[in-house]
Amino acid sequence: MGILEVNNLTKKFGGLTAVSDVSISIDEGSISAIIGPNGAGKTTLFNLLTGIYKPDTGTIKFDNRSLVGLRPDQVNAAGMSRTFQSIRLFPGMTVFENVMVGMHSRLNVSLLQTLTRLGGFNAQEKHVREKAVELLKFVGLGDKGDEVSRNLPYGDQRRVEIARALASDPKLILLDEPTAGMNPNESVEAMTLFRRVRDERGVTVVLIEHDMRVVMGISERISVLDYGQKIAEGTPAEIRANPRVVEAYLGRRATADMDKVHGEAQS
């Protein structure tokens, strides 16, 4: 029994079936990847998991609790946090404030306490600040707290997003193409960070990724989506050897050509 159990999940947009009968199981403390060609339904799957879309059919069990029907903020409170494919920081807020917002679901937000500053309000604010500092140090941005997040370089913005997602102390973090647009050096650094998220903070990591070096280098299990369906699942080695995956990525013609090449080489 994994921490996240997705069973027979389906989502249709009009006539298009974006996610079709997908079942995935994620083990607690693992690093898993979901891959697939563009338009395979990976981001839709994330949006279904985090409550941004409602599934048509299927169940999502997280930490022995059904997530279907919960709002995104309730999913966040349940312990599943995420980052976005196109960075969605709060661009005008400082890096520090971004991370503090990420803690919202863990805070006691009462109007009365806010106005009177009683009932542990100040202690809570102190804790929030300390934790934001600690998280920024964790992602390597300890000195950038006061910068407006829009002004940070791209790679740093990705780090802030991860810090913000970790601020709610999630059990599981969904990273949507976290190394998109990074150069190979930055990708390697990012991989180290993802591992540290799991090893040092005990957070289960699920990532969508196109960069195969990252996928193969970091993930323990890989699920492959194509046209909304799960076509394969296994360890990196298994996925690499799976003909259906190669077909999905390169197209049927290409695989047929490859077979021909192989055949000719053998004969």
Binding site: A77, F90, P91, V101, T114, V148
Partner: protein, 522 residues
């Protein structure tokens, strides 16, 4: 380059001098003494009283902002502001209640602007019907105390004037509920769509007030329709204030001939100050809290905010409710002060005025919004009105603008325009890069030069000018909205983030400017 350095130097010198805390303190003391002495020395009988009172009261009303801008110890700042609010202003008000009236109006609009700032500035929800909540508060108190034969009067549900403070509190709650009721249907709307729906809501409340004199058959009157409710109750004056006025009068040898009005206005002034202080405190605490951060997050990116655990519905409704609650309390105060409430006071243009205060001051910034409310209210109720009064004064005494004055002014303006034209030409000649705007530069320079020459020629050929010849259609008070529009355009060009922008926006703007600079250099 040369010109900029010569202009910068004196400014830089003054700035450096004021960064010394003792010089700043001396400056503040001198400022207050001069402005206050000027105000106190005003004679109502003087033919140029309107213009003098404008010149003296506007800087006086802005003293708190001058104080806050100076780099002096916060204790001195607090002391100066307390002195202003609780000693200088009341004494001035005893001498001339029109200034007290202005101060109360500033407080009322400042409160409204701070409330709208919660909705528009903090949470980024553009609300064009904000005045409706003000109307709710005002009608609440008016309906329950006006002696007009309405349903509430007939059913003997009138309340005593002493329940004023209780009703301010009830106004807060009723307006907050109104805010939630408005918020519920518009939760999914943003930007333009939200603006248009809230605009409709504001108009609905106004029209409801206008038409609630004929409900059912036989007609039951609630609001007395467009005739409005008069004789609205005023809170009873506490004894200490009754005693205070004659004491101060005797001590300072003031000559108060309308003690009753003065005392009444003083009471409203103190209530207004108290309400504003509470509102500022509440707004400040909301801003620096998880709630304030959640609002900013919603303003910046709704999807990201909800994915990070911010409950969108609750936070938006809270913003609407908090913003509205301020307006509710202020509405009760307003109805009581005016003793008359009618639908006209709650028109769309009022909503827009308040929005303008928020924008002029600096959206999202508490100090900025206060300054915006102050500046816009002074502009509407003091500057433009007094200019009109001044012109009619001059008209009555048949004042003449001498020929030499017209020539001097025209020459100064003409030389300034020629200088600008010369700058345009020079920037065209000096620029080494290819410039598409070169033609525009030359055309601009020619137009400026022509205007300058025309002005100077006109000034020399014309004679003296009788102010009574000034067309009544051109009275400044008639051009309130035009002046407003021009002001806004100038603001958006020179200070796009408002007079006192929110700290965060200031950071953004600085970053954008350095980027531009770097791009320009590359």
């Amino acid at each position: 380059m040369m010109t900029t350095t010569t202009v910068e130097q004196p400014v830089g010198f003054i700035r450096r001098a004021l960064s010394n805390r003792w010089i700043a303190l001396a400056f503040l003391a001198l400022y207050i003494v001069i402005v206050y002495a000027a105000l106190f020395g005003l004679e109502r009988a003087s033919p140029i009283f309107p213009i003098l009172s404008t010149l003296a009261f506007a800087p006086f009303a802005l003293t708190p902002f001058v104080t806050m801008a100076l780099s002096i110890d916060w204790r001195f700042k607090g002391l100066a502001i307390l002195l202003l609010l609780f000693v200088l202003m009341p004494i001035l008000g005893m001498k001339d209640t029109s200034f007290l009236e202005l101060a109360i109006q500033i407080c009322i609009f400042a409160g409204l602007a701070l409330g709208l700032n919660i909705v528009v500035g903090f949470a980024g929800l553009l609300d064009l019907g904000y005045i409706a909540f003000f109307a709710v508060g005002a009608y609440l108190w008016a309906m329950f105390t006006s002696p007009v034969e309405t349903y509430i009067k007939v059913s003997n549900a009138l309340v005593p004037a002493s329940s004023f403070y209780l009703f301010m509190f009830i106004g807060v709650i009723i307006a907050a509920i109104g805010g939630i009721l408005l918020g519920l249907p518009v939760l999914r709307l943003r930007g333009d769509y939200l603006a248009i729906v809230t605009l409709g809501f504001g108009e609905m409340i106004r029209i409801l007030a206008q038409n609630s004199d004929t409900v059912g058959n036989p007609p039951i009157n609630f609001t007395n329709g467009s005739q409005g409710l008069d004789g609205v109750a005023r809170p009873p004056i506490p004894q200490f204030l009754r005693d205070l006025v004659p004491t101060v009068e005797n001590a300072l040898k003031l000559d108060i001939n309308n003690a009753q009005t003065v005392t009444q206005q003083l009471l409203f002034y103190f209530i207004a100050i108290l309400v504003i202080v509470i509102i500022i405190l509440v707004a400040r605490r909301l801003e620096n809290s998880p709630i304030g951060r959640a609002w900013t997050a919603i303003r910046e990116d709704e999807v990201a905010a909800i994915a990070m655990g911010v409950p969108l519905v609750r936070m938006k409704l809270l913003a609407f409710a908090m913003g509205a609650s301020f307006a509710g309390a202020i509405g009760v105060l307003y109805a009581s002060k005016q003793t008359f409430v009618s639908p006209e006071s709650f028109s769309l243009s009022q909503s827009i005025s308040i929005l303008a205060m928020v924008i002029v001051g600096g959206i999202g910034s508490i100090q900025g919004v206060l300054l915006g409310a102050c500046v816009v209210t002074l502009l509407n109720l003091l500057v433009l009105k007094n200019l009109s009064t001044q012109i009619s004064n001059w008209r009555n005494i048949d004042a003449i603008v001498p020929h030499w004055l017209i020539i001097i002014v025209a020459v100064i303006i003409g030389l300034f325009l020629l200088w600008q034209a010369w700058k345009l030409v020079r920037s065209y000649v000096n620029s080494t890069r290819f410039q598409t705007s070169g033609i525009a530069n030359i055309i601009g320079a020619v137009v400026l030069a022509m205007i300058a020459i025309a002005a100077i020629v006109f000034a020399f050929t014309s004679g003296e000018f009788h102010i009574r010849d000034w067309p009544t259609q051109l009275e400044p008070a008639r051009y309130e909205r035009l002046v407003f529009g021009i002001l806004l355009i100038i603001m958006m060009i020179f200070r796009p983030a408002g007079l006192l922008p929110e700290g965060r926006r200031r950071l953004e703007l600085q970053a954008a400017k350095t980027e531009q600079k770097i791009e320009g250099e590359v």
